[in-house]
Symmetry: C4
Subunit: 231 residues, 4 copies
């Protein structure tokens, strides 16, 4: 695979349009969110350039790095969250996409360091459990990546609330990770609103298990199209 | 009636554009909502395909099933909520449209299992009562459909809050059911916001009765155009 | 003036585009809001037809009535709130426009029957006082109109929160009434959000008086352009 | 430099499109916000005309004033907040742009007179501290400008919550000030939502210092492109 391969071009285009989904679903303000994708069959990833506004993003402006975050292709600096994304790809080989946002309701839960209880069926479907809280970690070294991996490894949830920071989600590809980010904010909001009305009860564990199992194995058009909610 | 009839084509087009209303009014995230319509004069219904995003919906992608949820026409799987929709059509012959969403404010009420009190005139008009809570029911068999029908049969409200799940609405046709879903979220939000300010009082029963009677019988352009609110 | 006069055509066009502002600023769901305008120099008003969705409104679909609400021109029924609008025009000769919405935050205050305290300078500017609560009144006779007039006559505020119902605003013309509806929802939201944080203090009366006086007399481009906020 | 210089034309165009950002990010209702820019190399500023709606703004409608707020170029009155903007430019020579809004969550904090605690990493990055509260000051003389300058001079935060009024932000240019206004509302909302869930803890001072230092000095493409969040 060369860096000018058609395959990589398609990945850059996809990544560019997935950033527009972050705006569309209200997950980001100004430039505060990013999506990356593993390059299939290579120890490479594609990620948003740093500090560029979403409307100025083009497929060509996307940055290719190795899995240590070193730029391999691209004329700009990669997102300042690159080392966290890279850490995830190095340690979770099944992950093909990573998303980071400060979406407001999910970040509110992160700010108080409380997991979102699995209180509605949509959470059972998508997350199979409470959405967990990861450690506080300062940007700039591996500690964010470590916190994500330590929290999500072996966990059903594709989303982690990094304490007093924001959300990271993972998926088999970038689209699945974006979907997890959209659904995470959606349930974070619903359960937040419910809490204002009264006590929120977690679903029974058997119900959660059955919802999760059905959704991951039955739902959707094909095994590789697990990208809808309960529609 | 054949499955390629012009009548069915119009129904598919209508259903496709009604899904766009779910997005427009903020009722759904990603693919988490669906609309169906009974095919007039046949034991058939049309429904959204499963796990397909709203912008990819076309009239041709809509699925026709019988009232047991078996696919009669269409190349994809129908919505995973098909059996619930079908159950409603089998048991409530006057219903021509069904909508399911996880709209955030209404689902917050569902999460805590509390009916929305009929505290504002718009609720008297549209729902004629509190918006009731249905049982918790797991997807996959008839229990969701049973819960909807058991709650709404004989009730003025066209909307039910399925406990720890979301909203189902019914109507004489799909547009009326979509309108009920839009109004349900609207009043769920208003009454939620009111609750943050102080105690919310239900309207007097006589007022509710008179509001409901006038709205169902006088409002709008014609008896068959009961699709506005108090405008 | 004939009913086909160019003057009336312009008024209908203006009214049509002002209904789009209700959508744009999030004041209405489905068809639940309406705007009317007095026809200058005639005992007539123009108002939205009943139960018609906003995207289907055209200048030609607007209804002309006399100030008792009888249709003078138009093929549809006028808004079911026509008698309230007409009552206002009959009793407040300086009013040239009336708006009715169920905008969510303002209606939340109406639902608990609490005035919005004049706690921020934007309220001093626009409303010159708390936004008052009017009586509960059922649609169908003059009681809504009476409640609006009784509350707003001699009051600085162009907005009234009709108890357990919604908002009515007035203005020298329809645009001013729409602006008042937009600003009413804006301050209803801000003060609601403030209340979640802690006690909200009313501004001092001297400050309110000076803000109101300056805004009504100095602000804007010309005396007849009082249609901006503190921009 | 003449007032018809190409340089000034570009500044007016930029200012016009930055007002659209206020709408896009939900910071303003009707006409209630404004952006200004210092004219580089001159004792002049460009600002929004008073009471003009955002869709009617054109580069040509922008007003040029001296730093005492006297109109030098333009056919309309400048924003009623002109004296506050001018005061900031006179007393803070490093400031090239000023924004004023009544954005809802930030104004809610202003209404109760409480600083927004620096509880999430995005606040450490952008604001380097709590977002401070300035004094209550009535429009019409220098007191608003004085309050802004007294609060922000020597403070890391580019945003001040003027008590019971709204937000003013500053930046090296108008775009940076708009970014600060967008981020201020974003964190005001997140921390507000967090407060509904439970107690919100300020980040440790060392963490805040390191976040702020890295963001101001490392983040982004170039030293002069500090206009992204942690993307």
């Amino acid at each position: 695979m060369t860096l000018a391969s058609p395959h990589l071009d398609i990945l850059k285009e996809e990544l560019c349009s997935l950033h527009a989904e972050l705006i569309r679903w209200g997950l980001v303000a100004w430039t505060s969110g990013n999506v990356s994708a593993r390059v299939p069959g290579a120890d490479l990833m594609v990620i948003k350039p740093s500090g560029v506004s979403y409307e100025d993003l083009t497929p060509d402006s996307m940055i290719v790095t190795d899995l240590d975050g070193n730029v391999v292709d691209g004329t700009r600096s990669p997102s300042s969250d690159t080392s966290a994304h890279a850490y995830v790809y190095r340690h979770l080989p099944e992950v093909g996409g990573v998303v980071h946002t400060h979406s407001p309701y999910a970040t509110a839960w992160a700010a108080v360091g409380e997991p979102i209880p699995c209180a509605i069926t949509a959470m059972g479907d998508e997350f199979g459990d409470d959405i967990p809280v990861g450690p506080f970690a300062r940007i700039g070294d591996h500690s964010i990546g470590e916190g994500i991996v330590a929290t999500l490894k072996g966990h059903r949830s594709p989303a982690v609330l990094m304490r007093q920071h924001g959300v990271f989600t993972i998926g088999k590809d970038a689209k699945a990770a974006v979907k997890a980010a959209v659904m995470c904010e959606d349930v974070a909001r619903t359960v937040h609103l419910a809490r204002q009305l009264g006590p929120v009860a977690r679903l029974g564990q058997t119900d959660i298990d059955k919802l999760y199992d059905r959704y991951q194995n039955v739902y959707g058009q094909h095994p590789d199209e697990h990208n809808g909610a309960t529609a």
